[in-house]
Amino acid sequence: MTVHEPIGCHEAVAHLWEMLDGQLDELDQRLLDRHLAWCLRCCGELAFARELRGMLRARSEAPVPDDVLRRLETFIDDLPAPATGEAPG
């Protein structure tokens, strides 16, 4: 059985967002879990990374100015009936 070196804080922090993204492989996840089991500071980093992701998603809306909204709604009103198929993009 292979024994893997424990990871330090630097490496653990580098993997936190990947963990939240669900993109760590099984080994890296296990090593990170082992680190987080005793490192309070990296647990704090993890909680902060969660907050940061939430802020990025919830607080970056660019509202549509009223005049632009009116023009785009008129544009939508004037859209013709959809044509027969074409690949998206």
């Binding site: 630097h10 922090v13 580098a14 967002w17 993204d21 993109q23 704090g44 980093e45 909680a47 902060f48 990374a49 907050e51 940061l52 992701r53 802020m55 990025l56 998603r57 607080r59 970056s60 809306e61 660019a62 509202p63 549509v64 632009v68 909204l69 023009r71 785009l72 709604e73 544009f75 939508i76 009103d77 859209l79 013709p80 009936a81 959809p82 044509a83 027969t84 198929g85 074409e86 690949a87 998206p88 993009g89």
Partner: protein
């Protein structure tokens, strides 16, 4: 009257998604957002019948918009797809906040710091990021595309996008800190101990 029903459904969908599409166009940046949204709606109208799953309409429209944006940026030579990702020095906002302690009376320093940012502030910070970091971050963490989808949308290798996301996150944290200091977003943050206003620490 199949055409009429489809047209009504398309219009309903476009109205519903309009704020999100405009917001995405603004956040990707570099082009006229209104024009990009119009072109997206026009393209959606032409290919509406290729949309098989109505539940996927939101993502479908955003894919069209991002593809149009990418092609336009590339046509204008502004998509830095071949630019190597430079080395970003490691930066942890969490630790910087602990060390600098800009809110000495706060028991929840990190959460309070983030709470000081309005939607406008976050938008400005995103705009300060280089395009090669901003686009992947916006598509991954705001629009919810997974990393492989982001790579496809930006026509980049998966590994490049992973690197851009990693460095982009660090750059975003660094810019949040710089912006907070420059703008005095948090009381006293713009002033150093001797009372002089500091520049960025980037």
């Amino acid at each position: 009257m199949l055409g009429v029903d489809e047209r009504t459904e398309l219009q309903r969908l476009c109205r519903q998604e309009l704020p999100g599409l405009y917001s995405l166009a603004r956040r990707l940046g570099g082009v006229d957002a209104e024009e990009l949204v119009q072109d997206t709606l026009e393209r959606a109208c032409r290919s509406f019948r290729s949309l098989r799953d109505p539940q996927a309409a939101c993502k479908w429209l955003r894919t069209i918009l991002t593809n149009l944006w990418r092609d336009r940026m590339r046509r204008d030579g502004r998509l830095p797809d071949e630019v190597p990702v430079e080395d970003e020095r490691d930066f942890s906002l969490y630790r910087t906040l602990e060390e600098e302690d800009p809110l000495p009376y706060s028991d929840t320093l990190h959460v309070d710091f983030l709470g000081a940012f309005s939607e406008h502030d976050v938008h400005v910070v995103l705009e300060r990021l280089p395009l090669r970091y901003r686009a992947p971050l916006v598509l991954r963490y705001i629009e919810g595309f997974d990393a492989t989808e982001v790579a496809t949308l930006l026509d980049l290798p998966d590994g490049t996008v992973m690197s851009q996301l990693h460095r982009g996150r660090q750059r975003f944290e660094r810019e949040l800190w710089s912006y907070a200091r420059e703008s005095g977003l948090v009381d006293g943050l713009a002033m150093t101990a001797d009372g002089a206003t500091e520049g960025t620490n980037a």
